[in-house]
């Protein structure tokens, strides 16, 4: 405070005022007013100064932020150069490997060839040189394109390094290359149906999308292309050497038996892992053929008979009827069943294969062993439609399989919408219900692994994935014993492989005509087997389409003569590869005690 503080009641002025007869309080009031004015002015000045400083701060802030934003907007984006992490150059699409890590599908860097016709120095010469390198090109059309109005033209999608060098040597600046990642299936047609195939999606000059077109490639398309997986391969449950051996044996069997197609499914009974899935004829996924434009799609090599083909698989279903009858306590494996044929139901007659008659009675085990339609139908009558349908649902025969292939959802089983008593009887021996071989394998695995539900899968599993209990372990064991008897005593005698205790059931179904009824001379034969029967590890289903065995004068089309020997050879070749050592089957003690106690 520079000026002297003025007293509120200066004595001189107060005395003067008193003398003049004025109120001296006025002087005090005036002085108070003046003092307040000074205080107000000072406060205002200070507040203004603070506002100015604050404004300057804000201005500086805005200028800094604005300048930074401008800088960011105008600068070119660059990758951080100093990241410490190891930058992985990940391929566009992850590899697919088998259960032992062997490559089933990988990528290969190739080049595409395109042209900028405006930049071509000598279009005619370039066309002539290109024709020499790629004889499949259409020279006239190429020349028309090169000399026309086009500014850009694809010539080849994929070229090899040699071809690239040859085109490079033409030396025309209008011919250009772009990088292309190509899907490669090094094993050729092995596991073709499972893998499916891949093709280019959106294409640019500098890169092209590789997308799956079928099989696991399409089912796992997003997973395979997800950069978050950092190139980790997709591991399938397939085993390459088992798959190759199965395809080889099946191909030989198909040729020997004059079949037009064959399929097989090999499945782990506890995990549901599909170890091999074969459908013949097959194709090379590196050069996937076009789908048929006319005729039956099931004749195309692209058709997966093991998964997409839904067939009446015949007598292989009988074991389910027998197992259910035992599970429900209606019979025991030793109970006698009326097998006097033929069985008449309304205007329908159920007879035996080749008009045989197994009457008057057979035990349940012998019904399965002999494959008696009449005996199985009688068991089904006891079970009834409701319970049979529920059992078929539990075994997964009424739904498409959950296999991780894009085709799986389309393979819906066919069964009568009205499950009548007659349907019950025919379904008991596998007619009137059409399922795929994968369904059958999963059903066998569920029935024979101790009765726990198995879901088929194509992905390698670390441990057993067992679902609900469908049948009791005792019934499962009895079913295995019955299936073993079919091989040792019954219709599948060619199916025995020394040391592997194969158990299984044959199925011979006449093929349905497209316009109703059945062919007399076309069959679909199936052998559904489990090995080893006393300690089940794998289920194998082999199916042959229209086989004909011609070693004798009489042509044979039954499963026992066709599918069974092929399946036996598959097991002989494949079981050692799966690490199963041949072992001596334990003597069936249980059977002896049971019969002696009766």
């Amino acid at each position: 405070m520079t000026e002297m503080r003025t007293p509120l009641r200066p004595l001189a002025r107060v005395l003067g005022a008193r003398e003049a007869g004025e109120n001296p309080d006025w002087i005090e009031r005036e002085n108070i007013r003046k003092r307040h004015e000074v205080m107000r002015d000072k406060a205002r000045h200070m507040a203004e100064g603070r506002l100015l400083v604050l404004g300057l701060f804000f201005l500086a802030g805005f200028v800094v932020i604005g300048a930074q934003m401008t800088l960011l907007a105008v600068s070119e984006p660059t990758e951080p150069r100093t990241t410490a992490t190891t930058t992985q150059i990940v391929a566009q699409r992850a590899d697919i490997v088998d259960r032992q890590g062997r490559v089933l599908a990988t990528n290969f860097d190739t080049h595409s060839l395109y042209a900028h016709p405006k930049d071509l120095v000598d279009p005619a010469g370039a066309v002539a040189a290109l024709i020499e390198i790629f004889p499949d090109l259409d020279g006239d059309r190429l020349l028309a394109d090169f000399t026309g109005d086009r500014k850009f033209l694809w010539i080849k999608r994929k070229i090899s390094p040699e071809q690239k060098q040859a085109v490079h040597d033409i030396g025309d600046p209008g011919l250009l290359f772009g990088p292309r990642e190509m899907r490669l299936y090094p094993n050729g047609p092995i596991a073709a149906h499972v893998l499916g195939g891949a093709s280019f999606g959106k294409e640019g000059v500098s890169s092209a999308e590789v997308i799956g077109t079928a099989g696991v490639e399409k089912h796992f398309d997003e997973y395979l292309r997800d950069p978050a997986n950092n190139g980790a391969p997709l591991q399938l449950s397939l085993d390459l050497s088992v798959q190759a051996a199965t395809e080889r044996v099946l191909d030989g069997g198909m040729r020997l038996l004059n079949a037009k197609g064959a399929a097989s499914v090999l499945m782990d009974v506890y995990t549901g892992e599909v170890v091999s899935l074969v459908s013949l004829p097959d194709f090379d996924p590196n050069d996937r053929p076009q789908p048929l434009v006319q005729g039956d799609q099931s004749d195309s090599p692209l058709f997966n008979r093991a998964l997409q083909g839904v067939y009446e698989l015949g007598s292989a279903f009988k074991i389910f009827t027998a197992a259910q009858a035992v599970e429900l306590g209606l019979v025991t494996p030793e109970s006698q069943v009326d097998t006097q044929g033929p069985l008449r139901w309304g205007k329908f007659t159920i007879g035996e294969f080749q008009g045989k008659n197994y009457g008057p009675t057979l035990s349940v085990t012998r019904v399965i062993e002999k494959s008696s339609n009449v005996g199985t139908a009688r068991l089904a009558q006891q079970i009834g439609a409701e319970r049979q349908k529920e059992f078929m649902r539990q075994l997964g025969f009424l739904e498409p399989t959950a296999l991780e292939m894009v085709e799986a959802a389309g393979a819906k089983p066919l069964y009568p919408s009205k499950w009548t008593e007659l349907s019950t009887m025919t379904i008991s021996y596998g007619h009137g219900i059409s399922t795929s071989p994968v369904h059958l394998a999963a059903g066998y695995a569920t029935l024979l692994n101790g009765g726990r539900k198995v879901t088929p899968t194509l992905l390698k599993q670390g441990r057993a994935r067992l679902g609900e209990q469908v049948v009791s372990p005792e019934v499962s064991k009895a079913s295995r014993a019955m299936l073993r008897r079919v091989v040792t005593e019954g219709t599948a005698s060619f199916g025995d492989v020394l040391g592997y205790a194969v158990g299984g059931k044959t199925g011979t179904a006449d093929k349905p005509r497209p316009n109703g009824g059945y062919y007399d001379d076309k069959t679909l034969t199936t052998f559904a087997s489990v090995f080893p029967a006393h300690d089940p590890k794998y289920v194998l289903v082999v199916t042959l389409d229209e086989p004909l065995e011609t070693s004798s004068n009489e042509p044979r089309r039954s499963a026992g003569w066709t599918a069974v020997p092929v399946a036996a050879e598959v097991i002989r070749r494949v079981a050692p590869l799966l690490g199963l050592r041949p072992e001596i089957e334990p003597v069936e003690v249980q059977g002896i005690t049971l019969t002696s106690s009766e």
Binding site: D109, G499, R581
Partner: protein, 111 residues
């Protein structure tokens, strides 16, 4: 005293400037090395991918089978069969008797 402190501060600033300058250049050099290494890793990975594909292609079961058949006279390779599993007592172990039972004096040979 004051002028001495001023000149000392100036010298320190100059020294720090030189240090920062050289550090900057060393950093640039390291970044360039790292970038080159990344490029090398990328090309090595690409090479490994090609080699893996080639390995898978050369080891495809069809080719191995054909090779085994072509060289059958020399190699006599057959598919794995159940008969080839053996028991441990089928292996011809050497007998327990040692071929040399008498002690041999080696001291006098100067060993």
């Amino acid at each position: 005293m004051k002028s001495f402190l001023y000149s000392l501060a100036a010298l320190v600033v100059m020294g720090l400037a030189f240090w920062a300058y050289s550090e900057n250049y060393r950093t640039q050099e390291s970044i360039a090395t790292v970038e080159k290494l990344h490029r090398d890793i990328a090309s090595a990975q690409a090479r490994v991918a090609v080699l893996k594909a080639e390995w898978a292609y050369l080891n495809r079961p069809d080719r191995l089978r054909d090779l085994a058949e072509m060289n059958f006279t020399r190699l006599e390779l057959l598919p794995l069969a159940p008969e080839q599993f053996g028991a441990i007592d089928q292996i011809g172990f050497p007998s327990n008797e040692l071929p040399i039972t008498q002690p041999i004096e080696v001291m006098e040979r100067g060993e």
